[in-house]
């Protein structure tokens, strides 16, 4: 009995064919879903699921052919520029059964060239006014054309003309849109001057939001060195043109450009300036495969949903990215492919009033319809509440998001920020630690520290004063005893070598020239000192890395500290500089011996040994606001080390101060050459190894 139902099913399916093919929802979507966080890409439950594909496979009118643009009006009616079919296809909104049906088709009876004003030729852009007037970028006929909401020809715009437009101006409108003021914006093919901004009657007004020329480093150098005349005949670098535009209801123009490097997508205000995304690099560094596929993405369309989230689609990989109004990436999903729910050379993207995302597939001539999953709905709701300042309402929503996906950092950050607003800084900083956000943690810590100081100032001040007083008393007593009894007799015990060592260290800091000369001419330095200093330096270098506070580590977990790398970084400069210096001074009549150079070099590390760890520990009580102070101390330590190096070279080799400067400089050049040489040798060795491998593989097929 039941098996007959299958037969009925088949018959029913045949009887009710519509534009779309329904989907059985799946527990897992056939594409990657993730978000781009500060430190990488993190997988998430699918934010969008495919509900249907509008594939036209059953319509008598035939399928879409290389369609290039899609527009959805306020009533969720879908308009498609069916480019290769020279027509506009209009589709009704989704009905209660989840199906889409054809509403209308606009296609002239004859060609525009033969006089039929309604004749379209490769239309690539479409926009529909609130009153239903359809504005088409009739690319092949080099014009904009308007149709009534019933699809009748209304008006054909003349190509823009103006003295501003150059004589080489070629009008080939690709995309068209209108802002809330009624200005028409046209993305013109290969026009590097910007978006054409026209008055409502089509009169040229100005170029809008022109892209800047992006030069490579060498091009910039060439510009500095040669003037325009000298550069005649070389390739002229022009700004990138636009390939899509979108006017949002709040008056911004969103545009995608033809470049794979920033600015790929722009949000432009009425004044033509970038907002939110200025300088933002939309490249997804995690999209390339392990086989080295190019990461060059082609962002071909942009749209904005009701919540002001921006969605962009990448034609190269079929990936859709959603950003909230603060420019934070919420999701990345979908992929190119031949499977259900996968995209095929997407050319356009729109969002309807229900938040459904429509992606126009140029390759297959279909429209893939996505709808949000519960996970995305939770994030949208939480983000919306947060943006509207309803923090108390947003908090539990973010908690729900976090319960569903523990990796969703935005939830942690926003929950922490909500605590901040409630002046619950200790709770806030815990969230920021978990989110590994150093900047926000710094803000919270600043408040915690201020609060601590406020509460404990009397104790802290008393302790400080007490310590100072005790210290003064101690010194006074010591001096008094010394005056009365003379210097204490020298007693030798197990601490004597340490005291001696400390004396030598102090001497280097207080009298560097005498100390370094003593190494050379009085045999004062020793290998033991050298080893002790360098071992101490290595230990302190490693310890300092671990001691740096969360904020000054940029939030990176301590597990990522690689001691071997630090040890190498600590020892290599000493070894290389000393070796090069000895070599240089040998031919420049320096008097220092190998022993003196290396021992002296080790002594130069004393400021680092003494101050690195305290500075690192200090970062635990500093916020980002004191970063400049930290940097200053850090720089001073290295300047001190540099000075010691100079004095070491001068004193050990017995150079005149000027000659010592020259030798120091030559030593640095020598170090740079050694590094360069190493890189060359390393590179060549790699090449050689690769060559031998290839040769061997070739041989293996012959022998």
């Amino acid at each position: 009995m039941k098996r007959k139902l299958l037969k009925l099913l088949i018959l029913t399916m045949l009887a009710s064919l519509v534009l779309s093919c329904g989907f059985t929802a799946d527990a897992k979507e056939p594409y990657a879903s993730y978000y781009l966080g500060d430190n990488g890409a993190y997988s998430i439950p699918a934010p969008y699921e495919v509900v249907t594909v509008i594939d036209f496979k059953t319509t008598e009118e035939g399928r879409l052919a290389s369609p290039e643009d899609i527009f959805i009006d306020d009533n969720d009616v879908i308009y498609v520029a069916d480019t290769a079919n020279d027509r506009i296809v209009i589709i009704n909104p989704m009905d209660e059964n989840g199906n889409y049906t054809l509403k209308n088709i606009i296609k002239g009876d004859a060609t525009y060239a033969s006089g039929d004003m309604s004749g379209l030729k490769t239309p690539k852009g479409i926009y529909v006014d609130a009153d239903g007037t359809i504005l088409v970028a009739d690319t092949g006929n080099n014009r904009l054309v308007e149709f009534t909401k019933y699809g009748y020809f209304k008006y054909s715009y003349a190509p823009p003309s103006s003295s501003i437009l150059s004589s080489e101006f070629n009008y080939m409108p690709l995309k068209v849109t209108k802002d809330t003021r009624g200005y028409i914006y046209v993305a013109n093919s290969s026009d590097s001057n910007g978006i054409l901004m026209l008055d409502g009657d089509g009169t040229f007004r100005q170029y809008f939001g022109a892209n800047k020329v992006s030069l490579t480093f060498w091009e910039s150098v060439a510009r500095l060195l040669w003037d325009r005349e000298d550069r005649l005949g070389t390739v002229v670098t022009l700004p990138y043109s636009f390939n899509n535009i979108y006017a949002s209801s709040d008056g911004y123009i969103y545009a995608t450009t033809t470049t794979a490097t920033p600015p790929q997508v722009r949000k432009i205000n009425a004044g033509g300036s970038d907002v939110v995304y200025s300088g933002y690099d939309f490249r997804d560094m995690y999209i390339s495969t392990s086989y080295g596929a190019s990461t060059a993405q082609n962002f071909c369309d942009v749209s904005v949903d009701n919540l002001n989230n921006m969605l962009i689609v990448d034609q190269q990989y079929g990936r859709i990215y959603e950003y909230d109004q603060n420019g934070i990436n919420l999701f990345a999903f979908s992929t190119n492919g031949t499977g259900y729910g996968q995209l095929s050379l997407p050319a356009g993207l729109e969002v309807d009033s229900q938040g459904r995302v429509y992606v126009l597939n140029k390759g297959s001539g279909t429209i893939t319809v996505f709808q949000t999953t519960e996970f995305a709905d939770q994030i949208h709701a939480a983000n919306e509440m947060y943006a509207r300042g309803k923090y108390q309402d947003a908090f539990p929503l973010w908690q729900t998001v976090l319960d569903r996906d523990s990796y969703y950092n935005l939830a942690l950050k926003n929950m922490g920020t909500i605590h901040m607003r409630e002046e619950e800084y200790k709770e806030a900083i815990e969230y920021f630690y978990e989110a590994e956000d150093a900047a926000l943690a710094s803000q919270a810590y600043k408040e915690i520290r201020a609060e601590f100081l406020r509460q404990n100032f009397p104790i802290i001040a008393s302790v400080l004063v007490g310590v100072v007083v005790l210290w003064i008393v101690w010194i006074s007593i010591k001096q008094a005893r010394r005056r009365k009894y003379g210097p204490p007799p020298e007693k030798k015990n197990f601490l004597t070598p340490v005291k001696d060592f400390w004396g030598r260290i102090k001497n280097v800091l207080a009298h560097p020239i005498d100390s370094f000369e003593g190494i050379r001419y009085e045999n004062k330095g020793s290998y033991a000192d050298m080893i002790i200093i360098m071992v101490l330096w290595v230990i302190i270098a490693v310890a300092s890395e671990y001691a740096v506070g969360f904020i000054y580590r940029g939030g990176t977990p301590r597990e990522f500290i690689r001691p071997m790398q630090i040890i190498l970084t600590a020892l290599l400069p000493w070894l290389v500089v000393c070796t090069v210096n000895y070599g240089v001074t040998t031919i420049m009549y320096g008097e220092g011996r190998v022993r003196d150079v290396f021992i002296g070099g080790a002594y130069c590390h004393i400021p680092l040994v003494l101050f690195s760890l305290p500075l690192a520990l200090l970062t635990n009580v500093l916020t980002n606001d004191e970063m400049s102070l930290y940097n200053l101390i850090h720089t001073l330590i290295y300047v001190w080390v540099g000075l010691l190096v100079y004095l070491c070279i001068k004193s050990i080799h017995g150079f005149h101060p000027v000659k010592a400067v020259i030798v120091t400089f030559i030593t640095l050049v020598g170090v740079a050459l050694v590094v360069l040489l190493f890189m060359i040798v390393y590179g060549l060795a790699n090449q050689l190894f690769d060559f031998i491998t290839q040769f061997g593989k070739e041989l293996s097929y012959l022998v």
């Binding site: 098996r3 990657a32 993730y34 998430i44 699918a46 597990e559 001691p563 070739e698």
Partner: protein
Amino acid sequence: MSDKKEKKVKAAAVPETAEEKAARKLQRKFDKVDKKFSWRTVLKIVIPLLIVLIVVFVLVKAAFGNDKNIKFDTSSFSKSDAAPVDKTKGINGQLLSDAGMTIFADNGKLRLGYSPRDDLFIIQDLSTGRVFRSYPEPIYDGAVDENGNELASDLSLYRKSSETGQILTSPVFIEYTKSGLEGGFTKGINQMTELTKTVYFIDNGVQLVYDVGDLDLSFTVEITIEDNALVYKIPFNAIDERETLEWEEDDRRPFLCALSVLPYLGAHRDGETGYFVSPDGSGALTYFDVARVSNYNEYSKKIYGIDATFDVLDSPDYSNEKLTMGAYGIVDNEYMLTSFIDTGETNAELKIGNPGVRSLPFYSIYFEFTYRYFYRRQMNKGGVQYEMVIKHQQIGDAVQKTYFDSKPEFAAENEDDTAFTYVDVALKTRDLLLKKWETQWGVQKAVLTEGESPMNIRFFMGAETYSGGVLNQMKVMTTFSDVKSIGEELEESGVTDLRLTLVGWMNHGYYWNSTKKNSVDSDFGGKKGLKSLNSWARQKDLTLALDNNLLYIYGNPASGATLRTAVVKKPSTFYLDYYMNMTYGRLMRYGYYMSPKYFNNKLINKQIKNLKSYGATEVVLQQLGDTLYTDYNEKNALTRSQSQSMYVEWLKKYKENFEHVSVYYGNDYAVAFADTVDEIPMNKSSRIIFDEQVPFVQIVYHGYVEYYTSPINMQDRPDYALLKAIEYGANVSYEVTENEINLLMYTRYKFLYKGQFSLLKDEMVESYKAVTEAVKPFSTQFITNHYRLQAYTEVFCTEYSGGARVYVNYTDSDYTLPGGSVVKAMSYLVVNG
């Protein structure tokens, strides 16, 4: 007088001057030098040169090897000769190649006829009289449909001179490469230019001997009838790739790559009723009357999943599931064809073509037997890749059987009339599979008598971060004592019938390097903790299973294993890297595939011994049920079919040592031995050739083996996944941890978005109640029927052999059954029969 004496005499006669003496001495020296040069110098050059050459040869061989050097032991292949010709028939057993339709066999159930002239096979089901053709009947001029409308004739497609005609009438498709250095060409055998076909009578059928002159190749295809099945056989010994003088000079010779038999048997035109059934994932249907977006590429997929040695994935494959068995079905209301591979399934591919493929307006489905694979050869990483063919044949005999079941005219209007469905194909496949397991592996799979726990909790114990610092890299997510406390907490909530699986419990956690000795990581509680957990589980009457990675080497081979000895090699001389799916659209290399032979020789006994020492009674074995590959490592060379046989031997060994053995996904050879299948496929591939997903694999396995879903908390839609489990009669899985999930942020295990037990507990308790009611009671029964209740409505019914029906409603609104019962929205209803 001799010359010497003469010289002496002359010398005595004429006194020598000082200059002459000096010149003579000098000459003598030169003579000496010349004399030395003549032999010593040659040796000085030749011997070192020889040594250098030998060293280079040895080094090159040792360092890179070459697929030509690989010696596969093909003794396990089934290799039979062509069947003897029945010389009592035809002209000395042979039929003229232009003969018309001739009856070759009739066994009372089927009648087999063949027309050499038209290359047409006719199979008649004698029980109903229904006739099946090896390619569809043409639409003749003037033909009309059932409504009297004239149909467009497609006779032109059948013209023998046309390409389409040659393809359509070809009983065999051949894939070959002409030089071994280029991709393969697949052609209908009738498209070959220098083709000789000889037709012989054999017992119960016909033998076609093809000689393809332009490829210097001959092979034999035998088509016979056996009971109600049509049997296609390609005897291995009858494949003759002649190595002529021309080819001997150069190894760039033609190679036979693949053969398919009767590819258009059961083919349908666009718009006809019926569908194909494929065991893709859980199972998938391809309707003939559903218009679809054009796709001129055939669906093509290896049985038992890809072979990583040959198939290169550039990015994670989100849209494909695997084929777990070598079977497919063709269903029309009045008949069904069930095709099943008897021999050679490890190297077979299922092909499904839709109208447009090869410029023909037909849906077609068939198996292709692969003799040689193509692979990408690349000299250096990042270099150009060339497609090349391997030199060794990978299978012996290939045998496929197609069963014919038909019934008299079906009328949808007749209430009592029932049509064939995919359920019938699945039930038929189950019978065939059981028979095959018995004959091939000696396994008599018994019907389950006792159901397992309806819920499996996978405890993720921990994984190491990839930071590489000196601090402890292990992120402990759950300890053995946590497992106990979670178990007890669930018990208090009424969740008592549980299976507990420990995942990543070994040293270094989840990404344990399988070449190292497996010991219990002390971070989780050590060996003592595990033993104590085991005894606790026994005391609570809970099943405790240990998950084991057998063949993935995370990192580099260790503990004496080397790349050379332990890692799978590709024919391109590279070692086979293991790539992890990083879920954000990228593959990440992390280690290697292990040579099955290495595991067999060095590790399996140690692993079993260790597992037993921990008190393990149930083991979950990774890779055996879902991963099959060829090994071109000179030391461990193994074909795909030999890997399969090796897996089977391991499964037997594990079965001998443990009470309960589980595998993943459910390739049929592994299910033959396994007590449980974990992560059984619950989806079909997301391919446009498939229109509907069905529980084909579940119908085949249900009642014989217990199966669990993938952790449903790891699905995009957990609510949907739970309902799917109920619909498909699957026990559910959850993957949980005690600690917060974001501890795993810097490990490679980033798939678990929601896994902390405290967050999942309520959901798990609810799911447990659901599966205890709707899955557990039927686990020892068979699924007898499965159907959608109404077109376009996501409400399904699964019927069990005990008479119960389980309805599942995926929609947002309640669904009222004919009897008035209501299946609530996003819920289920159990109706006991």
